[in-house]
């Protein structure tokens, strides 16, 4: 709880004036590299807040959670929580239909594996993400974005890499 509070304070400190972009994203996550062999594809949801340095360039903070079920009708469950800093660049920020963009994110990832009554020790590891976006208007002030990301959790001995297909809805708020 205290971590969430500190995160909220940090967000407040960063966004003191100007325009912010608030987005809600959902995503499908496909593990790559074998770590998901006994898990299903993941489902993710996140809240993103970005400060607009310019119409094209924005940076902010986000938190995302994802969950993976058992890939074989068993009782395994794997969850990730990712607090992160994000940077994004959009080429045509006011384009109605086609506003291509690039996103990057860095942060930490909390991984938790459970099955039946058992739980493995939780792991906190650095995390990165890079991706592309197709952003378009849903009618002012709402916009939406489709995207494809590659992400990696830099855990010891083996990283937890994954592809991520995402859809999000956002709006800009003048402060």
């Amino acid at each position: 709880m205290y971590k969430t509070m500190i995160l909220m304070l940090v967000i407040s400190a960063v966004v003191m004036a100007g325009t912010i972009d608030v987005a809600v994203e959902s995503a499908s996550i496909t593990p790559i590299g074998g770590w998901g062999k006994n898990l299903s594809n993941g489902l993710a949801g996140g809240l993103y807040g970005s400060w607009l340095f310019s119409p094209k360039f924005r940076a902010g903070l986000a938190i995302e959670g994802s969950v993976f079920g058992d890939g074989n009708q068993g009782s395994a469950s794997f969850t990730q929580i990712k607090p992160m800093a994000t940077v994004s660049f959009y080429m045509r920020p006011h384009g109605r239909i086609f506003n291509p963009g690039f996103v990057m994110a860095f942060g930490y990832n909390r991984s938790r594996l459970s099955s039946g009554d058992g739980v493995d020790p939780v792991s906190w590891d650095p995390f990165w993400r890079a991706g592309i976006r197709w952003n378009f208007s849903l009618g002012s002030p709402w916009r939406a974005g489709l995207g494809l990301d590659l992400e990696g959790v830099m855990a010891s001995e083996k990283s937890g890499d994954a592809f991520r297909l995402t859809f999000g809805v956002s709006r800009e708020i003048q402060l």
């Binding site: 062999k37 395994a76 794997f78 594996l113 493995d120 792991s123």
Partner: protein
């Protein structure tokens, strides 16, 4: 603005720098009981003298299912590792009048993957057979609890899971002069990633892996 960003990044990193990290993705991607390919060999030393060699001999069909055959000395065992679980072909017999009477044969799940600390599993079998006009009854109960990840007791293998097994067998030859015969065996099995069993500790023996050859695909 620069200061604000620097401060933000600093707070962000400090917030999570102290959190625990462990190779959870390595464990998830590892095979804790490889049953293939042909030629894979595990050599064990037995505490107090002797050795044991386990080899994957070939693929065969047992109980109408394709499986891998392991050989250890003159004994064979049969394994399937797919669809998120490890299954062993259990072939239970009861000794009666000098004969091994088959009483129960079936595939039984040994582990569900992935292994997780605190995972509990209980399997049981109850069967009967008639031999020479006498009813033989057989009850088999196996309780397992997984703990870890931990380093194997000999310090040679990390990220192991320890499986504590308690197995109880009750055989009863239901005729005059025989009472139910109960056998209880307790063992700890250490499984290492991409290697399999590296140590088995029971009340009267300790078996330790000395070499492992992965075989050829």
């Amino acid at each position: 603005m620069k200061k604000t960003i620097t401060l933000t990044v600093f707070v962000f990193l400090m917030l999570f720098a102290a959190c625990e990290s462990n190779p959870i993705y390595f464990r998830l991607s590892s095979d804790y009981f490889p049953v293939s390919p042909t030629g894979a060999t595990w050599e064990y030393s037995i505490d107090g003298g002797g050795s044991k060699i386990v080899t994957v001999v070939d693929q065969t069909i047992v109980g109408e299912r394709p499986c891998w055959r392991f050989q250890s000395g003159a004994d064979y065992s049969y394994w399937i590792n797919e669809k998120g679980k490890l299954e062993k072909y259990e072939d239970h017999t009861v000794m009666f009048n000098g004969f091994k009477v088959p009483i129960y044969q079936a595939w039984i799940t040994m582990f569900d993957w992935p292994l997780v600390n605190g995972m509990v599993r209980r399997d049981s079998v109850s069967a009967q057979a008639v031999s020479q006009g006498v009813t033989l009854s057989h009850t088999w109960i196996r309780n397992q609890i997984v703990s870890g990840p931990e380093v194997s007791p000999d310090g040679a293998w990390s990220d192991c899971y320890r499986v504590h097994q308690e197995e109880m067998v009750i055989n009863w030859i239901q005729t005059a002069g025989f009472d139910p015969e109960t056998t209880v065996s307790v063992r700890n099995i250490w499984l290492a990633p991409d290697v399999g069993i590296v140590m088995i500790q029971s009340t009267d023996s300790l078996i330790t892996l000395t070499s492992f050859t992965g075989g050829e695909e």
